[in-house]
Amino acid sequence: MDTLLQQLINGLTLGAVYALVALGYTMVYGIIGLINFAHGEVVMIGTMVAFTVIVALAGSGLPPLLVLSIGLAVAVVVCMALGWSLERVAYRPLRGAPRLTPLITAIGMSMVLQNVAMIIWGRNYITFPPMITKHIYSVGGATFTNVQVAIVSLAALVMMALIYLVHRTRIGMAMRATAQNPHVASLMGVDINRVIAMAFVIGSALGAVAGCMVGSYYEIAHYQMGFMLGLKAFTAAVLGGIGNLAGAMAGGLLLGVIEALGAGYIGQLTGDFLGSHYQDIFAFIVLIIVLMFRPSGLFGEREGDRA
């Protein structure tokens, strides 16, 4: 019973991170139908920037919580700028190009960002300075730390803010209108370029927050970390129905939990034939099964047949 609870807690933590990253994919996809492959790298750069700032301020004598917040804030700002420039430099010139063209651009940008990060931060793992004293709580045989609590609650907070933004503000309304039909939205006076740029900026900010979370959870960062994380998050977005905010959140949490449970139980299930290094397979197998029965994801609207 405690394995179940323990894996649920771990899965929830990881799932919260996936959900935040997935939101970045899904917002961009919902508005311009682009798989922004470089989003994972944006998350990685968020982690790297936060680490750099925190390491630089670690000896300054400021209270740890303030240092962490400054690190987070700087990462968010840097990533927002990065997201904005990505859209401006790489994707905007390609509006109206064949569908696969921006995909290749995104892959190219992902390689560029990864190697720029490698040139700046080097090949080695960067470790997170021990800023927070960890408290370990234990409930019903399972344990969790204050870091996990912070991750999940911050994620919940950020997601609520996003929902408010999308459903209660003018820019949110413009985004929803653009997602429905860019052409008509522009006729109604919505500045499409601004909305698309906003989607990138907000998505990147969420990515930066997620990046800081992964960083503080695993306490290491590496220039290649964005790739797998981005892949999982994208899987989560598709699982929930890409282009759908609630879907991305649910998909992220679900994926995190499935992965954790899978890793915890695979040995038992297969009589130790398959070990926990098959963890990464779960995400994809669940994805394939879900899409077989719901081709537009769990929460995706059943799209009409159109080319």
């Binding site: 010139p93 892959i107 994809f284 080319a307």
Partner: protein, 358 residues
């Protein structure tokens, strides 16, 4: 078909060009050998990638199914060859048994992937194929316990080269007074295979099936309404692309003598896709150009960057390996920026894209 409008085949119309290309293809391995056998191997890889890219072109370019896990079939072909012609299991079957077998098994995997995913559209299909590729790679990486099938991350070594009787493709031998090294022999084998796949591609393009693929690519519902069995035709595209991947994998195995899961990462799938898109989707000369360029570019950069940095700064300022990948990425971005339909798109496709962009 047999009306008065008899179409002359491409090689009948451009016999001079064909002759010229033939002469160049013949000369390449000998010219490359002047710079060392490493350059012959690079030429070999360029042709292997032409082969792979043309295989993927059937799926992505003709049928319009975005496949991000193409490398899975390449891996299946490579491992089938590796397992059946190496000391790992002590089995040493001849290549003419294994290559078709590899193609058949890869084809089976193609249908296995295709069957449940055919009703998915566009990007949903892309992520499922991507996942499938990852699943195959993870299995290759971990199937060394409890029963050692793939030897895990270490991979399989000492794979038999392709042999016909006593004629081994790995050894140097003298034919008609010309000394031909192992890689050069593989070069000619690969050229022959590439010509085969080009002929298949050309013939498919204008066939009934090719037209059906094109119809599905442009509008699946309309294609269905025209009486095309979209499910079977899509499955056929997957199966055919997969078979080509399987053959390429087998040759790769034999040529390298070594396979490991590392060669079949997602990045590899993406590179092959980039070749197809960068060259010009659905256009055979474009795809060939894309494959050759994207194989050559990293190698040229590898040999160019270090001396260049040395000359400009007097020392290594930036790690050459990451600079190489950085330039590669930038090249992708720039080409797509200025040639959105690819470097050498088919005239027809270019028109279609100009119209359909909304």
């Amino acid at each position: 078909m047999n009306g008065s409008r008899k179409k002359s085949l491409p090689w009948q119309r451009h016999w001079l060009g064909v002759l010229l290309v033939g002469a160049v293809l013949l000369a390449v391995p000998f010219v490359a050998a002047l710079g060392g056998q490493a350059w012959v191997r690079i030429a070999n890889f360029a042709i292997l990638y032409v082969f792979l890219a043309l295989g993927l072109n059937i799926v992505v370019g003709y049928a319009g199914l975005l496949d991000l896990g193409y490398v899975a079939f390449y891996a299946v072909g490579a491992y089938v060859y590796a397992l059946l012609a190496s000391p790992h299991f002590g089995v040493h079957l001849p290549f003419w048994v294994i290559l078709p077998l590899g193609a058949a098994i890869a084809c089976l995997f193609g249908m296995l992937l295709g069957a449940p995913t055919l009703k998915l559209r566009g990007d949903y299909l892309a992520i499922v194929t991507l996942g499938f590729g990852e699943i195959i790679r993870i299995f290759l990486n971990n199937l060394n316990a409890p029963i050692n099938v793939t030897n895990g991350a270490q991979g399989i070594t000492l794979i038999d080269p392709i042999e016909i009787g006593d004629f081994s493709f790995a050894a140097t031998s003298t034919i008609l007074g010309v000394e031909i090294s192992g890689p050069q022999k593989y070069y000619f084998l690969l050229v022959a295979l590439a010509i085969l796949v080009i002929i298949v591609n050309v013939r498919l393009q204008d066939s009934r099936i090719g037209r059906a693929w094109q119809a599905i690519r442009e509008d699946e519902v309309a294609a269905k309404a025209c009486g095309i069995n979209t499910r079977n035709i899509k499955l056929l595209a997957f199966a055919m692309g997969a078979s080509f991947g399987g053959v390429a994998g087998g040759v790769f195995s034999a040529m390298q003598g070594f396979v490991s899961p590392e060669s079949f990462s997602l990045m590899e799938s993406i590179t092959i896709l980039a070749m197809v898109v960068l060259g010009g989707m659905g256009h055979i000369p474009g795809v060939i150009l894309g494959a050759v360029l994207l194989t050559a570019l990293p190698e040229v950069l590898r040999y160019g960057i270090e001396p260049l940095q040395d000359a400009v700064f007097g020392r290594m300022i930036i790690d050459p390996e990451s600079l190489r990948m950085l330039i590669f990425g930038l090249a992708l971005v720039l080409v797509m920026r200025f040639r959105p339909a690819g470097l050498w798109p088919s005239p027809q496709r270019r028109r279609e894209l100009a119209e359909s962009s909304d």
